[in-house]
């Protein structure tokens, strides 16, 4: 035992481990900060380490060239021992990392941890968050499939909307006139060298700042931050309730971190890897590109915002939103920390997160997009065909063959770009139907050039039958209503 101690002391004399421990892992924290609310940062760090390890493993096999990327991913999935599992862990690791960093950011914001003297910790954290989103996007590109290719195309189109530099920027990112080999190589270099390198560098700064100014104390309602007195009060708090982070305050971080790893491994084992979904061949048009979940809300926003706002959003709103995130600690770096005394902060957070979640939810369904195969693939509900005349049946056929179902649902089946037609006869008279079909309007194309007059009659005859059995169809208000005596076709 004595020899062991001697050896230990010999090394410590040379490596200064005790000193290092006291100034890092063993630094004092307020007892209440060892809380379940304070576990998200360390869990994000664990995810990052997992991403680096699995990422290096994947890079051993993956080939970043459009010729071979797809095949090398298939190889990883089906031939490389446990390749499918590491791909799945890397994917779920990124999902958890983005989720946990979001949770970390919300917690830090609601607990007022960004206020004096931790403004720079917040700023560096924001950069880390952006870097993580960048890694998520470039990672989606590594899965060089149809979603990746068209996701990249969407990214290029958004960049090209930036005035003056747009065209040059697109060329710079693509590395050429089209998305191709140089584009994939660029994103590979970003994904495996640049973004992780910057992340490591800034992580060091982030953690260093936590050590320098101490972890945020658990907020107490009524206690206000004042730069004049803050440090003295924090020191007094440490004096009264300080414990060493390791080993006294790290228990919850350890437990939560382990649970996070279990969850990632569990999800990876259960759900398996994502894709690759079809090779990135631009001539394969039978594709419905969707981004990974982190960017679904942005994707949805571009479908739902009025078109005239798009350029303004790209050039002004997005950069201003990012700047606002960075500016938070400089706008308010004193005052109350407790969320109960900052209702604006709580409401703002809830509103922003609700908006993002609802947009992402809408993005999954994308009701604004025509359903490309509804016209040939969705059955016509039989009860809408029973007892119809040949003319009306002809109309039902036209409703399918003219691809109306791509945007209009019957019994909620079909596209949802336009209104469901199941009871359209209650909303529009025959004349209004004719006008709507021929002239379009309200986001519907005009079909005057594509339909013969007899086709229009058949189509409208069918649509006039689309109302519940116990309800009257819409009628021209100039014609007196005679219940039970409604003409079949006006």
């Amino acid at each position: 035992m004595d020899t062991l101690k001697k050896v230990g002391r010999w090394f410590d004399e040379r490596l200064h481990l005790t000193q290092l421990y006291a100034s890092s892992a063993g630094h004092p924290i307020p007892r209440l900060s060892a809380s379940w609310w304070y576990v998200f940062g360390s869990a994000s760090l664990i995810c990052f380490v997992l991403q680096v390890v699995t990422g290096v493993c994947l890079a051993l096999v993956y080939v970043p060239s459009p010729n071979d990327a797809y095949a090398s991913l298939e190889y990883l999935n089906y031939q490389q021992t446990l390749g499918w599992f590491l791909r799945a862990v890397h994917n779920w690791g990124s999902i958890f990392m983005v989720g946990l960093m979001t949770a970390h950011m919300i917690q830090v914001f609601l607990f007022g941890a960004y206020k004096y003297p931790r403004e720079l910790t917040w700023v560096v954290g924001c950069v880390l968050f952006l870097l993580t989103l960048g890694a998520a996007f470039t990672g989606q590109i590594m899965r060089f499939d149809q979603d990746a290719y068209w996701g990249l195309q969407i990214g290029m189109s958004i960049s090209s909307r930036i005035p003056v530099v747009g065209a040059d920027l697109v060329q710079l990112i693509q590395g050429g006139p089209i998305i191709g080999a140089e584009t994939l190589s660029r994103f590979f270099a970003l994904h495996v060298f640049v973004l992780p390198g910057l992340t490591i560098a800034l992580l060091v700064v982030h953690l260093r700042l936590v050590l320098t100014r101490g972890i945020n104390e658990y907020p107490v309602a009524g206690e206000s931050v004042d730069p004049e007195t803050y440090q003295a009060r924090y020191d007094a708090l440490l004096e009264r309730t300080g414990i060493r982070f390791v080993p006294d305050g790290i228990d919850k971080d350890l437990i939560f971190g382990a649970l996070v790893i279990f969850s990632i491994l569990g999800c990876a084992a259960y759900f398996g890897p994502v894709g690759p979904n079809g090779p990135a061949d631009p001539t394969l048009l039978n594709t419905v590109p969707r981004p990974d979940f982190y960017f679904l809300s942005l994707f949805a926003a571009f479908a739902l915002m009025p078109p005239y706002l798009e350029d303004f959003v790209i050039v002004c709103i997005l950069p201003v939103a990012v700047l606002a995130l960075f500016a938070i600690p400089f706008v308010s770096n004193r005052g109350e920390k407790h969320p109960a005394r900052r209702p604006g902060a709580v409401i703002g957070t809830v509103m922003i997160m609700t908006t993002l979640c609802v947009l992402a939810w809408e993005g999954v369904d994308s009701p604004w997009s025509p359903k490309m195969d509804a016209w040939s693939g969705e059955p016509v509900p039989p009860h809408l065909l029973e007892g119809r005349t040949p003319l009306e049946l002809q109309g039902a056929l036209l409703l399918q063959s003219k691809q109306c179902r791509n945007c209009h649902a019957l019994d909620e089946e079909g596209g949802h770009r336009g209104p469901d037609l199941t009871d359209v006869a209650m909303r529009l008279t025959a004349d209004q139907l004719v006008r709507q079909v021929l002239q379009g309007g309200g986001n519907m194309p005009a079909y005057a050039k594509n339909l013969q007059p007899d086709e229009v009659s058949a189509l409208v005859a069918f649509m006039r039958t689309l109302h519940p059995a116990n309800a009257l169809p819409a009628r021209d208000s100039a014609v007196p209503a005679v219940p039970g005596n409604q003409p079949r076709n006006e």
């Binding site: 459009p66 006139p177 089209i178 631009p282 048009l285 994308s366 791509n406 194309p445």
Partner: protein
């Protein structure tokens, strides 16, 4: 720390010397040399990186799309060309599709595959004579004009010419808002 003090004792200049002593002079030289070295490294790196944007090689060329009889009048057909500005390892990403509408005789309209909204691939629907986009719901008439949805303009149109009964298209780069085909 005693170590540092020791260091200082060595460096303290005798009071009789002028303010610029040998050590700070060499320090300035060192900084200067490294500034030059850094810019010597930076210039080629920046040039290397920015060349894609500022030193553009030719990006447009006449590319044959096919014989004229491949494109019946009054019809819209998918055609594919190999982008001439590709590397051998570009793979299938160098195969670029486009929609060819032959109005009549030698009158054509050749549309880029990319939606004018955010670049997704539009699909032609013969029966309703519409192009539909699967991303944000952009719809175009057969002449490429916007029928509905968010696109700020009609489909991008390639220049074309008919040479020796063959249809040729002037292509080579993906169209975007700031730079059409």
């Amino acid at each position: 720390m005693p170590d540092h003090d020791h260091d200082h004792d060595h460096g303290d200049p005798p009071p009789s010397l002028p303010p610029v002593d040998r050590r700070s002079f060499l320090f300035s030289i060192g900084i200067g040399l490294n500034a030059i070295a850094a810019s010597l490294v930076a210039v080629p790196i920046v040039g290397y990186l920015a060349s894609a944007a500022f030193e553009r090689k030719a990006q447009q060329a006449w590319i044959p799309l096919g014989e004229l009889e491949q494109f019946p009048e009054q019809a819209t057909r998918l055609a594919t060309y190999r982008n001439p500005f590709t590397t051998p390892w570009d793979g299938v990403t160098g195969d670029i599709p486009c929609w060819v509408r032959r109005k009549q005789g030698g009158e054509f309209q050749i549309f880029a595959i990319n939606c004018a909204h955010l670049g997704c691939p539009v699909r032609w629907f013969e029966e309703s004579r519409l192009f539909m986009c699967p991303c944000h719901g952009g719809v175009y008439y057969e002449d490429g004009s916007v029928a509905s949805g968010p696109p700020p303009r009609g489909l991008y149109e390639y220049e074309y010419r008919v040479k020796n009964k063959r249809l040729e298209v002037r292509g080579g780069r993906t169209p975007t808002t700031s730079q059409s085909v």
